[in-house]
């Protein structure tokens, strides 16, 4: 270091600094830029959905669009009622959730609280690997293995039903539910378990009354992720849900969930045409649906945090 005053006249060794820290400033700018890009991309997607979807909602009044039971995009005049798709999505999601949540949370409890550490460490990566299965492969498995079984055991005309799709979706959302719930349970401080055992609790009481409630925020997040996956999954439901356009009254009927409706329709739709806009409007509703699921999850999380926060 030069033993002279710097440009501003500060003596060497003083707490003043003549030049700004450029490195710091540049890094701050880069991080700010990255954050903005992520937000802008999301905003852009939403704006495109709105721009392409709104025309359909002007052409077909919103309530008619949402509650209409017929989808005849090429008849004259065309009708765009998405209720069958909406109900199909609900059926498939409901079945998937009802199956996957108890099994997934149960498996997570087993891995985190009951299984020896060695077993848990071996099983968890395998479970997580399952979430990486391409959905087209899961659809194929559903087509070849599950649907004949569903058809025969329930004595149906076809094995390609909402139920079949729901079961496949349950399998696909299991890994994420197991993995995230298990992490949440592992994060429960051991002091809680010790305290509960010290009060004369059985293992089951410790798990059910201490560990699961303490991990509830994480477990609800896991459930919401699973639900989100079931709502958004496309390829598998396109392959095994049956593709019928009628309003499904039972889960054992063939049906077309909203994602499948978009995927199967977009190839035939003329860009800028009415059907094209209607498909975007379905996308918009899907987006709102997943947004609602996420908002509910966030509400649960913050309510939970507020209740148990340290001060």
């Amino acid at each position: 270091m030069a033993v002279t005053a710097d440009l501003q006249g500060h003596p060497p060794g003083s707490i003043f600094r003549g030049k700004p820290r450029w490195g710091e400033r540049i890094i701050e700018k880069i991080i700010f830029f990255n954050g903005m890009v992520a937000i802008l991309v999301l905003l852009g997607v939403f704006i495109i959905l709105l721009r392409e979807g709104i025309p359909a909602l002007i052409e077909t009044p919103f309530f008619e669009f949402l509650f209409g039971t017929t989808w005849y995009p090429v008849s004259e005049p065309p009708t765009f009622g998405i209720l069958p798709f909406f109900v199909a999505t609900m059926w498939v999601t409901l079945i998937s959730t009802v199956l996957a949540v108890p099994i997934g949370v149960g498996a997570a409890v087993f891995l985190a609280e009951v299984a020896p550490r060695r077993v848990a460490d071996a099983v968890k990566p395998i479970v997580e690997l399952l979430s990486g299965f391409p959905s087209v492969v899961m659809g194929f498995i559903g087509l070849v293995l599950l649907s004949p079984w569903v058809q025969n055991s329930l004595n149906l005309n076809t094995g390609l039903t909402g139920l079949t799709a729901g079961i496949m979706l349950a399998m696909m959302s299991l890994p994420i539910i197991v993995s995230v719930s298990e992490d949440a349970l592992r994060a429960v401080p051991d002091e809680y378990r010790q305290a509960a055992y010290g009060l004369g609790s059985t293992k089951w009481e410790v798990i059910w009354h201490v560990c699961v409630p303490s991990a509830l925020s994480g477990i609800s997040a896991a459930v919401m992720l699973g639900v989100g996956r079931a709502i958004g999954e496309t390829m598998t439901v396109l392959m095994v849900a049956g593709g019928a356009l009628a309003l499904p009254e039972l889960p054992t009927e063939p049906m077309t969930p909203m994602t499948a409706a978009i995927a199967s329709g977009i190839g035939n739709a003329v860009q800028g045409g009415l059907q094209y806009h209607a498909l975007f409007a379905i996308g918009l509703i899907l987006f709102v649906l997943t947004l609602v699921v996420n908002l509910i999850a966030a509400r649960i999380l913050t309510a939970q945090k507020r209740k148990f926060a340290r001060e």
Partner: protein
């Protein structure tokens, strides 16, 4: 039918409640192993009913391990193994047929770090009674109030029983943990350095509390704080690590004797602060 009959009827392998025996707790030639490591060696001592016994000694000498012998908390560690005789009211608690859940109801424990459950103050105290089958709201209300009064916390929290147990100060949290143990109506309370995370005022409150509780409870406390042992306890056990790194009992006797007239040179060195 009284509680003692109920306990006997359930055949927990434990003695009837508050059986009239001289020694509440007794160790005879007890060795505790974690795997092949012997954590404590050849411990023998008697602990009287309604007394406060302090276990002191340098870090890592097996004080906590010794404390956890009495409610079988070491069972939670897969590699732990106990040799010798550990008696509660004259009954060997490591023999086959002993109901560990029942044992821990009667031998409660307060931990080093205040560890209230992430639930309301009320639910924390009601946790034990609820697990043991009390559902009646009024009965629970009574137990919660009584336990919090006993733990000298009632006046500070009576208006916020529905708030999180984690929202109160560290000293209050520790008294909440004591109330939580009292709600189960144990006979013995084991305390594992209950004041090490607390400031001096909170510490004094807990010590006062211990003195009032000793009329009905047998208390065993592990402490690093020798002034605390001297202030609060009737009997003191001094543990030290021997040559093969196992904790051994160096001296056990009346607290007044240990602190004024120790028989062992090592005890004297320790309490006068020459090491440890």
């Amino acid at each position: 039918m009284n509680i003692a009959d109920l306990v006997n009827e359930k055949n927990t392998g434990l003695p009837p409640k508050n059986a009239p025996v001289d020694g509440k707790l007794r160790l005879e030639q007890v060795n505790l192993y974690y795997g092949s490591f012997r954590a404590v060696k050849d411990l023998s001592l008697d602990i009287d009913t309604c007394s406060i016994t302090a276990i002191i000694g340098p870090s890592g000498c097996g004080k906590s391990s010794m404390l956890r012998l009495f409610n079988r908390m070491n069972d939670l560690i897969a590699s732990a193994r106990v040799e010798g005789l550990v008696e509660f009211d004259g009954v060997d608690i490591y023999q086959a047929g002993v109901d560990v859940v029942e044992l821990r109801k009667r031998v409660g424990m307060v931990f080093q770090k205040p560890n209230p459950f992430p639930m309301s103050i009320y639910d924390n105290v009601a946790f034990g009674p609820r697990r043991h089958g009390i559902r009646n709201k009024r009965a629970l209300d009574e137990i919660v109030e009584k336990s919090l009064v006993q733990a000298a916390l009632w006046d500070e929290v009576k208006d916020k029983l529905d708030q999180s147990g984690l929202s109160i100060s560290g000293g209050q949290q520790q008294r909440l943990c004591i109330a939580r143990v009292l709600a189960v109506e144990p006979e013995v309370i084991l305390m594992d350095e209950p004041c090490s995370a607390l400031d001096p005022i909170a510490t004094l409150k807990i010590e006062d509390l211990m003195r009032t509780l000793t009329s009905t409870y047998t208390i065993v406390i592990v402490t690093h704080n020798m002034q605390q042992a001297a202030r609060v306890s009737d009997m003191t056990a001094f543990l030290m690590v021997d040559d093969d790194r196992s904790g051994t009992l160096v001296e056990y006797g009346a607290t007044s004797e240990i602190f004024t007239n120790p028989k062992n040179q090592k005890t004297e060195d320790y309490i006068t602060g020459r090491f440890g």
